[in-house]
Assembly symmetry: C2
Homo-oligomer: 341 residues x 2
């Protein structure tokens, strides 16, 4: 059986209150000698306080929850990693729950909230969900949202700067490479990242004085297959684009496949750029030009915000922060400079 505070107290000839003090915040209110004695006995008995009991008494759990829409691909690994690192340094344990066939995002949140499992949660919301808002307002624990959505402004929010990333790479195609015939394959309409990326694309064209061709904006689903289909759609247009901006790398890879299949050479016959800079980009031939995202930074930043809130719990709250993680462009060989024909 594991040693409890009583064992230590008895062996040290003091009361449990003293042991508790010697080990907690107010070490200094215990006479150095008895403190020392207690430490030694703790070591001897390999004692450490039972967190469950501690947290029951203190009304905090010492854990934070991370709610993910899914766990797939290294994007989520990076998020988890970032959150894990920071929560650890803050002395918190990390509980992870993701949606899958048997659990949706709402259940994940409720699981943490209702049962008081965590002191705060980092919540990733990829697309609209009405229930979430009412749930969050009902339970009063700190929440940081990872999402590029509008609304929820009373919460801390963190996301990559989808808009800026899309705008930049489109602008790069136009200004640096001289392209004018640029199509895009968007992500799912309800997905916030997809929305922002589309907007960045459109605004970059507008700002450059280029027309927005509806036929050159096709919606897809962020998968490779989806990219393949969308690409063949674009290539079958009478007026074909010279470059395709795929809203993520998966779909860009899909474009590679389709181009390959139909006999278009990248970058000569068709340029392709992506978004995310996932691991396989460097293995595509030719190397994909894409938008680089520091994913683990999202995890780190959001967790820092959460810990900030948690440590401030009683004091007056600071106003919510809304942060964007900036992006960069990775130049590959998947687009060439537009030749004046």
């Amino acid at each position: 059986m594991k040693a409890t505070i009583y064992d230590i107290a008895k062996k040290a000839g003091v009361s449990i209150a003293t042991v508790s003090r010697a080990l907690g915040e107010n070490r200094d209110k215990v006479k150095p000698e008895t403190r020392e004695k207690i430490y030694n006995i703790c070591k001897e008995l390999d004692y450490s306080p039972n967190s469950i009991a501690k947290y029951l008494a203190k009304k905090t759990t010492g854990s934070i929850g991370l709610v993910l829409p899914e766990i797939q691909g290294d994007f989520y690994t990076e998020i988890i990693k970032g959150v894990d690192e920071i929560s650890y340094s803050g002395g918190y344990n990390l509980l992870v729950a993701s949606s899958h066939s048997r659990r949706n995002i709402v259940e994940s949140i409720l699981g943490f909230m209702k049962e008081s499992m965590v002191d705060g949660v980092v919540l990733m919301i990829p697309s609209m969900n009405k229930q979430i808002e009412s749930i969050l307002s009902k339970y009063q624990i700190p929440v940081v949202i990872i999402s590029d959505m509008e609304g929820f402004d009373e919460y801390d929010k963190v996301s990559i700067d989808n808009y800026q990333g899309a705008y930049s790479i489109t602008e790069y195609l136009i200004k640096t490479l001289g392209h004018t015939k640029i199509a895009t394959i968007c992500g799912p309409e309800e997905n916030f990242d997809a929305q922002k990326r589309k907007k960045g694309y459109i605004d970059a064209l507008k700002d450059a004085g280029l027309p927005i061709e509806k036929r050159w904006i096709v919606e897809s689903d962020f998968t490779i297959k989806g990219g393949e289909i969308a690409c063949s759609r674009l290539l079958s247009l009478k007026e074909k684009p010279d470059v395709i901006f795929a809203a993520n790398d998966n779909m860009a890879a899909g474009c590679y496949n389709t181009a390959n299949l139909l006999g278009y050479k990248i970058p000569e016959d068709l340029g392709v750029v992506g978004f995310d800079h996932v691991a396989f980009c460097d293995f595509l031939k030719p190397k994909l030009t894409t938008v680089h995202v520091q994913v683990s930074e999202i995890g780190r930043v959001s967790t820092n915000l959460l810990l900030e809130r948690l440590s401030n719990k009683n004091k007056e709250d600071r106003p919510p922060k809304h942060l964007k993680i900036s992006t960069g462009i990775i130049i590959g060989n998947s687009v060439i400079k537009k030749t004046t024909n």
Copy 2:
């Protein structure tokens, strides 16, 4: 303030014991009417039991811990996913701790164990660590080990069948494709997976009556860079191999890079096969022939074993199980049939 069991009891005009019963294992020992009444009040007050308190009273936490050596790449995502799915279906929360710059594997384990945070742990051990054994034996909670190591036989162990995978793909190179000059790039010596893969390679050669060339066995570190260096080493030999079996896909990708750089064409001048079947394999040109591993299955299987143990806690223990997840070969275009010269 959140409702407690007392609020429900008061409002229902019963004792807290009855409420507790109505909500717990022995629902049936409560009169249906009062049970119904209690349910309604719970809903009305949006009550759910505080897990922390519950677990203090029951001496179990309702959580399991997952200890990872690192979180990087989609290998770990798949593990987490598998564990998450199963632990959820078993009604357990999932705590994740991975090693990183500020925390090693031992600290991760101790974090869970000492503070009684979890009822059991899934522990991934990629390489030898002496401390682990003594720690595990000290704390008596169920542990399932994910590792292809020898020893620790008193614990449930799960791993992919590294040996079989390596043996099979080597045998495939020999018997199906007719190769005889096969080199290998191993992973780190202390890594268990690497050890088994090397052994599989060696035994397949032996069983086919082929000699083991020391020069054709080079150790590396499972990284792309490492694969590049090892490959150039092999290609600089006077007696060059025809095919390289890289012990993971990263290193296989490194071989692609080096081959490319030095002017060798894959598969004509050099064959390459890998291990793991990570996402980018399908994007390599030519497509990589590699060993497929069902990673999420590892997570699922090991968690199932853990839950099995947890549900049996008081009854007599079953003997430990040691399971291997079988592998398969993904045929790409990175090796050709040996032409009889």
